[in-house]
Symmetry: C2
Subunit: 434 residues, 2 copies
């Protein structure tokens, strides 16, 4: 099928004028080759396949390297200029017609958690290659340089995108990982050059836009039957460490009214976190995910409990408001139970907002394809949150069945794979007309 | 001072007639040598003293052996017939005038926890030696054989008393301990003979009575200002293992109303255990002492929580009633939170009741000395619970300041030490007249 037949000029009927664009309507009829994309997903998913049917392709492993070679071969087939930067990121570049235009980046990662699925990262990476490939096959002449990117080592710390943003410090590079190698050694192993890491760095304003397609990793789209999630931003994350000190009395000899039971305080606090978080409208979440007890013996009243409270939202103000209420309740609980309470914020990752124009482009791209969409936060971290500091960022979510993520059971329906890739393609086309 | 001057016949004015006894009133004026007892407590407490001022005299260790030699030397000074039985228990025996009378046993243990105090076990052991020594010094002619006993290895499993009751199985003797030795090797090391362990065994009815003096290990006496605790029995202990299975969703991407959070169920259950246990009158206790979370990460909704519920009471019926209520509540909590619950009883130690006549003897002995007393359960385990299967058992508690036990901070006031020893002495005297 030769879609060049659709090439002609004209204003868009799809509302792009609302953000001041004029694009040739015909280019918008280009769609991805769904069978090829699905086939590539299966082929990449076979690299590092686990006994449970999942994927183990840890960053910098042999499987990761094999996956990267597979992707670079696809880029070559797509006639892209393939390069690995100093941080180990892979770029498949197609030059643009406008010498002054900044590049439009789109991509994801291909490393996985120890027993993950084939869509997390793989979908966005392969859809990016498919996008630029199919555009080339249709003879589309892009104004901006288009760069399909595969960020290295997303799962253990957004390594590649951090390098792209110039944030990989000598300390970070020298840190020894669980496999016994430094991060620098790992990056060198996959073709990066940690000795000139600054060569990978970019400044704010260096790119026209960054767009990433990803499965949702939650069940919002799947449950609501909505085709496309237009990400408003990647939530900020604050972690609080709470320590409750009671007294580890003998559980047989200490009457009930003479105890300072840190576990009872912890239980009330865990319930308070849930109650307070749910009492305020919004998409924020709060979790007591880690909890440890000392001495942790059936016959000793818990003398010490440490627990974490994690709160995520697109607004640090909202996070602060929720923590303030939780803290107030927790102090009252501890006072009433004669338990000492200490807490501190151990982590604060700032929210990273998606660019409103890019959100609008994605929304309209979905609409033009007859797909339903909804705005939503990303509760999980992504390379896109780092890219937001370099240029306008947007993310496209597609449903993951049951909201399952980081599991061999992760699954996105074939039609959602193709829908997501087409929304990516159409968004890139629209961004290219700016 | 020669207390023989007090020796004369006559009925007791102290109410012993209430249990059908006639004793020479004068013997009851014998009291222990408090300075000697205190001095011996200090000397034994110096064996294995820790940097924190506690005692480390683990069963079968060099320190334990040194402590045992110290006690045997005291027994020899007291002109007792000293023997180590096949299970490693030490007996200091003084023959009685009545050839058919069964022995009266009284004693405790001298092994300690890794950093314990000098009163737990040491007090009852040395007061037992003091009792039979002072009786000898006053020329008291006991009808029953009197046996001051030091049970071996109380802290890690009532080993010596179990051997006395004929319950040390070949499997128990062959079990390798944390120090790499089998229990049999340990017993041999301290002068026992595990190859003829049955030589240590006794049957129900073999003894006239067993009495043990011990610090309370809780704060009931100390707080209430009562001098003597008359133990009603050693509580039964039931342990229940509860397993809650939710789903370990991503804490960032899973909306609050879509979670199956096992930690929230566990928190509600921990609070329910406390509420239910406290809602019923009595001295029973219930504790959630051990709790573990999986995957136990700040950013993952707890998918699995395992916790223990321990209930102690003098009545298994009461324990069963409490567990039934807890179980019912826990099942309702799990159902409401869409979490799967499983549970099983992992341990049941039966209550061991003190003999009512021995309790009466102890109560009257305290009263005769002008001491206040109260009946109370022992929430902690003791060798006495094993002896209850061999003959009438009683225990005397004295206050431990702050209820502190198994700690270098364990402390019993000198007057309480002497009070307890005198109640022991007087109880033995009264039991000897039966």
């Amino acid at each position: 099928m030769n879609r060049r037949a659709f090439i002609h000029s004209g204003s868009s009927a799809l509302g792009v004028a609302a953000i001041g664009l004029r694009v040739p309507q015909g280019w918008e009829r280009i769609i991805v080759k769904g069978d090829r994309l699905q086939d590539n997903l299966e082929r990449l998913g076979a690299i590092g396949r686990t006994a449970e049917g999942g994927v183990r392709r840890l960053a910098f492993s042999e499987e990761d390297i094999a996956g990267r070679e597979f992707c670079m071969a696809l880029m070559h087939e797509a006639e892209l200029d393939v390069q690995i930067d100093a941080a180990g990121n892979i770029f498949g570049r197609r030059a643009g017609t406008n010498a002054n235009a900044k590049p439009i980046l789109f991509g994801s990662h291909i490393d996985t958690v120890p027993n993950g699925g084939k869509y997390d990262g793989g979908l966005g990476s392969l859809a990016a290659i498919e996008t630029v490939q199919v555009l080339g096959e249709h003879g589309y002449r892009n104004r901006h340089p288009l760069e399909a990117v595969i960020w290295c080592d997303e799962e253990s710390g957004l390594t590649g995108s951090e390098g792209y943003a110039g944030r990989l410090t000598p300390e970070a590079l020298a840190r020894v990982r669980t496999d016994g190698l430094t991060l620098a050694e790992c990056i060198a192993r996959i073709g990066g050059d940690p000795t000139r890491i600054e060569g990978a760095a970019h400044n704010a304003g260096d790119i026209a836009a960054y767009v990433e397609l990803h499965p949702e990793q939650g069940g919002v789209l799947d449950r609501s039957g909505v085709d496309i999630g237009v990400v408003q931003g990647i939530v900020g994350i604050s972690h609080y460490e709470v320590e409750l000190t009671g007294f580890p009395n003998h559980a047989g000899t200490t009457p009930m009214d003479q105890r300072q039971d840190a576990m009872l305080s912890a239980s009330e606090i865990a319930l308070a976190v849930n109650r307070i978080v749910r009492s305020v409208a919004g998409t924020h979440v709060g979790t007591v995910g880690r909890l440890s007890v000392e001495p942790n013996a059936p016959n000793v009243v818990p003398g010490l409990v440490r627990l974490t409270v994690e709160i995520r939202d697109l607004s640090n103000d909202k996070i602060d408001l929720l923590w303030d209420r939780i803290r107030t309740d927790a102090e009252e609980i501890a006072r009433r139970q004669d338990v000492e309470i200490n807490y501190e914020r151990s982590t604060r990752v700032a929210p990273a907002m998606a660019d409103s124009s890019v959100q609008q482009v994605i929304t309209e791209a979905a609409s033009a394809l007859g797909l339903s969409s909804r705005a939503m936060p990303s509760g999980a971290g992504h390379d896109a949150q780092v890219l937001a500091s370099i240029g306008p960022m947007g993310m496209i979510f597609v449903p993951s069945v049951g909201g399952i993520s980081h599991s061999p059971l992760e699954f996105t329906e074939p039609e959602d794979v193709v829908n997501g890739a087409n929304v990516l393609l159409r968004s890139v086309l629209r961004l290219d007309r700016v």
